[in-house]
Symmetry: C2
Subunit: 358 residues, 2 copies
């Protein structure tokens, strides 16, 4: 087992990464203080891993709630259901909410934990690559609104993240690929060497090589933990983590969160961010090609025909990155070097959207 | 105008108290940075003060949303309506939500501000005595759940509190009395001298004497600001502010938030907390009598016949003050001296409930 730490003073917490952690009762004894637990999972993950987790949480009182699977179910109404279960079972302010599943389960369970009794303990047990490398770390919780992605939510750091890499063995190939989008993102924003390593090892990752996956999970969590430490509330550098997300969110939102997995939309979004960087003269043609090629090799979309450029633009305007009415974009000066700007020409944006959408 | 400050480092903010502040455009220019504003008010307050506030907020873009009046409408569904308005009007992360009204409006607008885009600026413009002396200060936001009072919410400090004392001139007498419950609470928990002053001046307050009201608003905000500074998240002393609230919330919750105003339930709750303190041998008989008498003179209930003792107990068990299954109570060692304990006999609690309920 490997232990990283998100250093946030009194809100700091460990990220535990390793094979078979779900079955280690001592680990949960050590990291979860609460006597009363609500485990939130979904209809796909619960049949696979809920029993093992419940066993590891004994002898506490464990209540469970199972949500439908998928981004289109990440709604305030489903968080309200989780809150109803907390109230109906009389769970007190000293309880903990445990998320067992991917990013959707983690975001909703985390938002319920953030708002139940104005905040109770929260534990992330991510079971998808995307959740293990990205969404389980950093305290962003929330739900989608029909008008836009993640528009409702809260910052609420977990007390621990337990990433059992063995759960990836049952992960559908499509979900694995979706997770790779966020992994590629880390290389792009701040680690050119890691990006090169990914170029050399993408095939191993795609067939689920355990050692290669363990390496990318560790490196991704290291990068994310460091960025979150520096800027918990996204006043500055944390915005780099949104590379490709303004484009990706618009794709998800314009397709009703049903056509593309989050990671797939981010794959296309990364290519669009690179294209936009090229259009603005920040990124070389060769680097754009490297980004496009790696995203494509990871089995992720680089073009989304079902979304029209003007529809995407409409959805981008309500994105959280909008400031003073202007869409702020994370762009690249090179592989491993991201920056934020609202200083770009509309034609460059139009060309970018026209190239990859519709 | 008087200015107090809640000292919370980067989250600190001013409380501005004075006559006619609603009409002072320079004041809002100084304290509200956002260009885009959502004003949340209710059907009773909006006809009286919304126009004046809108004028003072010019030349910004101001969107408004008007909620139904009353504690029974303090629901997640109504917060969702506010969030819908924010999204529909494409308000960005740099917007501000302004609450114009009493505690119910402030709690809901604040929760919407806390969760929209994971937190936007929030300004309190309280128009009831209760909101001016208590709920607008300290960052507690949230809504009720059918299972219990304020069970869903967040800590989200405002960027400014603007208390225009002139708005109290239109406040119904019943609402004024309700606000006095929280004022009496401050005397009880930490200021015996203030309590004595209230005993001497309660009649002036009840007829709405502006000078007497200004004094209690100032002193109440001073006490609250100091307690919040010491313990923002209620890990310790802030719990004293809940004196009477475990009883009061049970009354509100058991009557569906429809029969009693929050302050009225707190009036009865203060008497019950004093009675419980007496039953446990902490408080003298004379002090219990002083509390009961002042609450009664303020026109607040000291007995609630519509709630049965066992029903109240059921509702108390889901209160946020429950820890390890035990109801923690704020009790009194004397007037001006509160403490928190879970160490009391059940019979004392039973007798307290039986004396004041049913």
């Amino acid at each position: 087992m490997e232990t990283l730490r998100v250093e946030l003073g009194s809100r700091g917490y460990p990220i535990l990464i390793g094979e078979g952690l779900l079955g280690q009762r001592t680990l949960f004894e050590q990291h979860v203080r609460a006597r009363d637990i609500l485990v939130v999972s979904n209809t796909v993950v619960a049949p696979l891993y809920l029993e093992a987790l419940q066993t590891s949480l004994q002898p506490r009182r464990v209540v469970t709630t199972i949500l439908p699977d998928g981004e289109s179910h990440k709604t305030l109404a489903n968080v309200a259901r989780v809150l109803d279960v907390l109230v109906a079972n009389r769970l007190g302010r000293d309880c903990a909410v445990v998320a067992l599943g991917g990013g959707v389960v983690g975001d909703m369970a985390g938002f319920a934990a953030a708002t139940y009794q104005r905040g109770v303990d929260f534990v992330q047990v991510p079971t998808t690559l995307l959740a293990q490398v990205d969404s389980s770390v950093g305290g962003k919780t929330g739900v989608n609104h029909p008008g836009g992605k993640n528009l409702i939510g809260a910052f609420h750091q977990p007390v621990a993240v337990v990433a059992d890499t063995r759960t990836l063995a049952t992960l559908p190939a499509r979900e694995l690929r979706a997770g790779l989008a966020e992994v590629i993102k880390y290389g792009l924003i701040c680690d050119a060497e890691f990006f090169s390593w990914l170029e050399a090892h993408i095939e191993e990752l795609l067939v689920g090589d355990a050692e290669a996956l363990a390496r990318v999970i560790r490196r991704s969590c290291e990068i994310k933990a460091e960025i979150v430490r520096r800027d918990e509330r996204e006043h500055a550098d944390r915005a780099f983590l949104n590379l490709g997300h303004t484009f990706g969110h618009a794709i998800e939102s314009a397709t009703g969160y049903r056509e593309w997995l989050h990671g797939e939309a981010i794959g296309a979004g990364l290519v669009m961010a690179a294209r936009m960087s090229r259009e603005c003269g920040y990124l070389g043609a060769e680097d754009l090609q490297r980004v496009t090629r790696l995203v494509a090799r990871a089995g992720l979309p680089t073009h989304v025909s079902s979304v029209k450029p003007h529809t995407a633009l409409e959805h981008m305007r309500i994105d959280k990155k909008v400031q003073a009415g202007r869409i702020r974009l994370v762009l690249l000066r090179g592989i491993g070097s991201a920056f934020v700007t609202a200083d770009y020409g509309e034609p460059a944006l139009q060309r970018t959207l026209a190239t990859h959408l519709g």
